[in-house]
Symmetry: C2
C-alpha cells in the first residue's frame, strides 16, 4: 500500500472496523453459496429455507456498512486516496449483497426443482461451479485485506474458467431439453441457476478489480470482459434451420 | 419535503447539480431500453450495436455521479438527513447503471436471435413489457425530483403487472419449446431477455422505494416483494410426470 502515513490514525481505525464487517459479510455470503448449492443437489428444502432466511442478515450488514462508511466520510472528511478506499468498501459490500441475492435465488428454486424430474449430474455440476466461485470470492476478499493486486489478478483470470463451465452447462441443458420435452421445465430453472452462479463470478471479479484499482490507481483496461456474455457459439444449430 | 431550511444553500446547489446528472442518466437509460427492444423486434443489428456502444457513456456518468457525491460529502459534511439524500442519489445511479446493463444485454442477444427461427409475437410482447418498465423508470425519477411518495408508491404497484407479463411470457415460451425442439434455443434467449426486463422493473421499484424512504423516513415494509420471484405456479406440469 503506497499511501502516505496519517498523522492521526482515527480514520484507519474506523476503516478497519468497517473492513472487518465486510470480511464477516463475505463469510456469510460464502456460506450462503455453498449451502444453496448443497441444498439444490440433495433437494434439502429445509437448508434452502435457511439460506433464504439468512439473506436478511446479509442485507442488514450491507446497510450497516453503508451507514458507517457515510458517517466516516462525513466525520473525517478523508482526502482523495482515503475517500477512494471508503468508496471501495461500499462497492465491495454492494457486490457481496448481490451475490447473497443470487444464492437466495438458487435456494428459492430448490423447492420447485424438487418437484420436477431430476436432470442427471446437474446438481453436482452446479455445486462444482459454485465452489469455484466461492473460492474466487474468498481470494478476492483476501486480496482486498492484503491489498494484493497479484492475487486479485488471479481471481480475474479464473472468471474465464467459470464462464467456460457455464457455457458447457448451457450446452448440456439444451441437449437434455431437445431429447425429452419433460426436461424443458427443470432445465429452464437449472439454466437460470447456472447463469446466476456465473454472475456471482462476475461480482467476485468486480471485487478483485476494486482491489487492483486501490493498489495501482487504475482499473484494468478490459474491465469485466466476460460480464453478461452471450453464449453465441456453443448454441447447437437447430436442426433443419438454415 | 420535511427537512429544515439550510442557512447556507451551497449543499443544495451541489446536490441539484448531481441530481441533474441523474436525470440525464435516466434519459440515456430509457433510450437504451426502448432502442434495445426495438432492435430486437425488428432484428436491427446496427441499432443493437449502438445501444451496446452507448452503455459506456452510462457507466461513465455513474462513475462521475459517485465521485461528485463523495466529494460533496467530504466537502460539506452533511447532517443525517442531507447525507441520506446523497446516499440515495448514489443508490439511484447504481440502479440506473444496472438497468443500462440489462438493456445492453438485450442488445447483445439481438445478433444471436437474428440467426434463429423467429418466435411469433415474442418481439412485440417484449417491447410492450419494456415500454411498461420504461414508463415505470420515468415515473420513478419524476417522483424522485418532485419528492412525490404517492407517485413512487404507484410505480411500486405497477411492478406487479410487469411480473405478470413475465409469468405469461414464461408460460408461452415453455409451450413453444414443447411444441417444437427447434424453438428451444431461441426461447432460451428470449426467456433471458424477459427475465432481464422483469429485473429492470425491480430496479425501477428500488428507485421508487428510495423516494419513499427519503420522503417518509421509512422503507416500505414489504420492500421489493416480487424481486427475484420464481414462477412456480405457471410452470405447466410436464406430461407423464407425477
Amino acid at each position: 500500500m503506497n499511501r502516505e502515513k496519517h498523522i492521526s490514525s482515527a480514520f484507519d481505525r474506523d476503516l478497519e472496523t468497517i473492513q472487518a464487517q465486510v470480511v464477516r459479510m463475505g463469510g456469510m455470503v460464502e456460506a450462503a453459496i455453498s449451502d444453496a448449492a448443497a441444498a439444490l443437489e440433495s433437494r434439502d428444502e429445509e437448508l434452502a429455507e435457511e439460506v433464504r432466511r439468512r439473506d436478511k442478515g446479509i442485507d442488514a450488514l450491507e446497510a450497516q456498512i453503508n451507514e458507517e462508511s457515510a458517517r466516516l466520510i462525513a466525520l473525517r472528511a478523508p482526502t482523495a486516496t482515503d475517500l477512494r478506499m471508503v468508496l471501495a468498501v461500499m462497492k465491495i459490500a454492494a457486490s457481496l449483497e448481490r451475490v447473497g441475492d443470487y444464492a437466495k435465488n438458487m435456494a428459492k428454486r430448490t423447492h420447485v426443482l424438487s418437484q420436477l424430474p431430476a436432470i442427471e449430474g446437474a446438481g453436482m455440476a452446479l455445486r462444482r461451479m459454485s465452489s469455484a466461485v466461492d473460492k474466487m470470492l474468498q481470494d478476492a476478499l483476501d486480496s482486498y485485506i492484503r491489498r494484493d493486486a497479484d492475487l486479485a489478478e488471479d481471481v480475474r483470470q479464473r472468471d474465464l474458467e467459470v464462464d467456460q463451465m457455464y457455457n458447457a452447462l448451457f450446452r448440456e441443458f439444451l441437449t437434455h431439453m431437445m431429447e425429452d420435452p419433460r426436461n424443458i421445465t427443470p432445465c429452464m430453472h437449472l439454466h437460470f441457476i447456472a447463469k446466476n452462479v456465473e454472475r456471482m463470478g462476475d461480482h467476485a471479479t468486480a471485487i478483485a478489480e476494486q482491489v487492483i484499482y486501490l493498489v495501482t490507481g487504475e482499473l484494468p483496461d478490459d474491465a469485466r470482459p466476460k460480464s453478461n456474455s452471450v453464449p453465441a457459439d456453443p448454441v447447437p444449430a437447430p436442426e433443419g434451420e438454415g
